[in-house]
Amino acid sequence: MPETYESRAMNPTITTSGALTADEPPGAPAYDVTVVGAGVVGTAIARELARYRLRTALLDASDDIGNGTSKANTAILHTGFDAVPGSLEARLVREGQRELRAYAAETGIPVERVGALLVAWDEEQLAALPALSAKAERNEYHAARLLDADELRAREPRLGPGALGALEIPDESIICPWTTPLAYATQAVRAGVHLHLNCRVRHIDSGDDVHTLTTTRGTLHTRHLINAAGLYADEIDRELGHDDFTVTPRRGQLIVFDKLARDLVNHILLPVPTAAGKGVLVAPTVFGNVLLGPTAEDLDDKTATGSTADAIALLREKGRRILPELLDEEVTAVYAGLRAATGQEDYRIRSRPDRRTITVGGIRSTGLTASMAIATHVTELLGESGLALGTPSELPPVTLPNLGEAFPRPYQDAGLIAADPAYGTLVCHCERVSAGEIRDALAGPVPPHSPDGLRRRTRAGNGRCQGFYCGAAVRALFEEARS
């Protein structure tokens, strides 16, 4: 007997260990849809599917959602001004950005419209700005504006010497990369999507009606399969018998500077792309830090998320030119993310209705921005592939804890602390994270399974001391909640 929407909403199904029952899903011959990969793209798709009366599963190999490329990017909500005009990516970024902005406001995901400046450091770059402005027009972005050197300096007084002018993109924004997939996943499981973590798909047998997925946690049957496996989308595709593309990881290393650097910069400072290649950017984060990066290194190892001495030196050299004072500030973290490059300047989204599969691949460097539009697009493709979606219903509302510096946080909220003193008990001092927020995250609908997962939900341990003061205390709270 199928569960009702209400009963499902009250008991979200999230599994992290143990064998999936031999005939997963229980009580039915198969899931209607299974999404492989719970990154920002997979969670967005699962959330969109949750509107329909479908039995939907969301699988990820990791112990958490958003634990692949989605956790390690530059966290910019792009306008799509510089996309390849006419491409699918250009459209989905444009639409996704609008949708996500509205969704963020509704759910409490921090977004700051700081605007971007493409700074020209030589005549060649300066000469390239009008063409970029024209490209923005072709991408239906009409607010781009050229700034001369004086106006640029007035906007960014700490820029290094030699900046000649800039193209301003006032709507480029920064967003929280961690609460975005968390919001999607939370809504999805609340609306009845089954989330199976630590569940790597190893092998797929595609029959006439169902795909049988052999995972590290047992077998699972599904009528339709959506491949949102990010860097591994090519391998899942090959399991399905398709061989359209190969994912070549393109590593982007980034340096995060301490919050005391935040006042040095007002906008996202983008490089001007020229024949000589792309430079690096300097961008504020919603947590109040400053990012410097990313590099672009083509690799063949899909697990090579480490940083290297050469890249750190290169970034520092480039950063010194852009914002000399930045280099005097303390570094909080160095990390790297891998873009799922496929040798094509566009997404690789392909539906094969006869095979009941949709591949959502090649979501290289704009997936956070485009996630909601990708989800809508994929859902439309699914509706056209023989699955009766029915009428969509409203999703249960979610409110995410605010992780953004530009919005009030619990430690500043007298009323909240009066009602519950745990919000006035600070545990992580650098990031001002209270015991109340940590408790809430540990008891949340999609709880963390590692201190790192807790960090992405609360910012605890994310600050300049990297645990010197609070690391042991945060771990103690995590372990206490688990036992």
Binding site: T303, G306, G424, E479
Partner: protein, 411 residues
């Protein structure tokens, strides 16, 4: 927004040895309402979790009581003297030149003082802050985190550890690791190993790899090794599941910077004169916020010593401006204090505290201002990185208060 607004005479931020020392002495000398705010649930600062002995003296290491006992002693002395000590209260920022905002389980406050003493201490730089490349697995610690994990929370650490550093703190970290049942496979330092220190410590079994830098951390789910390169070009990967980054201090200077007080480029703590006056009128600073890192006894003594200048300021309201700075030339790293006050006040024990970037055998230090030599002094013992050495301050009265910076160089 509802913040309870209050006033006190002296507000001390930080309840470590320095803040507690300041609170004790100020309360005892009738400074009025003296309030110490400490963000942790227990006051005492870093010694709270240093279970080894060696606390009380002017230098780190050597004999002395254990950290927790020392911390309790500091707390008791402050309370006995009549200071108000509030724990679990974090100063989150400034609402005016001498007005701070606080967060505590009991609510939000806005406290205005007639003088503020910053005593927020120093922390060790993290692996990231040191720009150590590689992966980001669990198993990477600083001494501060390690000691809390072992002594305050009894957490499981691992089985094989590498310690980065070869100063007294590093050996304290190695001891803590052994207490927690780990084998310390090596201590790694990019400096020449401090052989004497090793010889005098019978308990140390781990080899010290000198002139060796960490080139990467490896491992994904868990640390699997520390890759190193010796200065002669040899490389190796030390197999371990735990690594502790020790020393490499940076003052906990957020509040100081948010107050807009000038930092000293060498120490990265607030620039200050011998009376512990920063560039912000009414804002004093003591302890390791000024210099990473001196001993707890030194921090406590600085705290006590700040009482007299605070009382003087409360009485007169005066604050010096335009003080000449004191700066060092390479290979020296920093000096504290680093401003010359107008009133001939001498630093603690009548001596400046310095650091060097490299070992110098009995260096000759020369003090000059605008080309004029004020003092020269040969040190009898060699000076080494990460260990304090001192310079007599008797020349301070020869400084031209309107002149340029005072420079200390090695001849």
């Amino acid at each position: 927004m509802t913040r309870r607004e209050r006033t006190v005479d002296v507000l001390i931020v930080g309840g470590g040895p320095a803040g507690l020392g300041a609170g004790a002495e100020l309360a005892a000398s009738g400074a009025g309402r003296v309030e110490i705010l400490e963000r942790e649930q227990t006051a005492g600062g870093i010694p709270r979790h240093c279970h080894h002995g060696g606390f009380g003296g002017r230098t780190i290491g050597g004999a002395g009581t254990t950290g927790p006992a020392y911390a309790r002693g500091c707390v008791a002395a402050a309370l006995r003297a009549g200071a108000t000590l509030r724990t679990g209260v974090t100063v989150t920022g400034w609402a005016g030149p001498l007005t701070v905002d606080t967060t505590a389980p009991t609510g939000l406050e806005r406290i205005t003082a007639r003088a503020v003493v910053l005593a927020t201490g120093a922390r060790e730089r993290s692996r990231s802050a040191r720009l150590v490349p590689g992966s980001r697995p669990p198993g990477v610690y600083t001494t501060g985190e390690l000691q809390q994990a072992v002594h305050l929370y009894r957490q499981r650490i691992g089985s094989r550890a590498v310690v980065i550093g070869d100063e007294p703190i590093s050996h304290a970290a190695a001891d803590t690791l052994r207490v927690a049942g780990l084998e310390v496979v090596a201590m790694v330092t990019d400096r020449a190993p401090a052989r004497l220190a090793v010889l005098t410590r019978g308990g140390d079994r781990a080899p010290v790899l000198g002139r060796t830098t960490v080139t990467a951390l490896t491992g994904r789910e868990r640390l699997t090794g520390v890759s190193v390169r010796h200065h002669d070009g040899r490389t190796a990967t030390l197999r371990c599941d735990t690594v502790v980054f020790t020393g490499d201090w940076i003052p906990e200077h957020e509040l100081a910077r948010r107050a807009g007080v000038a930092l000293d480029p060498g120490t990265r703590g607030p620039a200050h004169d011998a009376a512990h006056r920063t560039s912000g009128a009414g804002v004093f600073a003591v302890g390791n916020l000024l210099h990473g890192v001196e001993s707890a006894g030194f921090a406590l003594a600085e705290g006590r010593a700040v009482a007299a200048p605070v009382l003087r300021h409360l009485a007169t309201g005066e604050w010096p401006t335009g003080r000449p700075s004191v700066a060092v030339d390479p290979p020296l790293r920093w000096i504290a204090p680093n401003l010359v006050g107008p009133d001939g006040e001498l630093p603690l024990d009548g001596r400046f505290t310095l650091r060097t970037t490299r070992r110098l055998a009995s260096p000759l230090l020369v003090v000059r201002q605008d080309g004029r030599e004020l003092h020269r002094q040969r040190l009898l013992l060699p000076v080494v990185p990460d260990r304090p050495f001192r310079l007599r301050a008797g020349w301070l009265d020869r400084v031209d208060p309107y002149g340029g910076p005072v420079r200390i160089s090695v001849c």
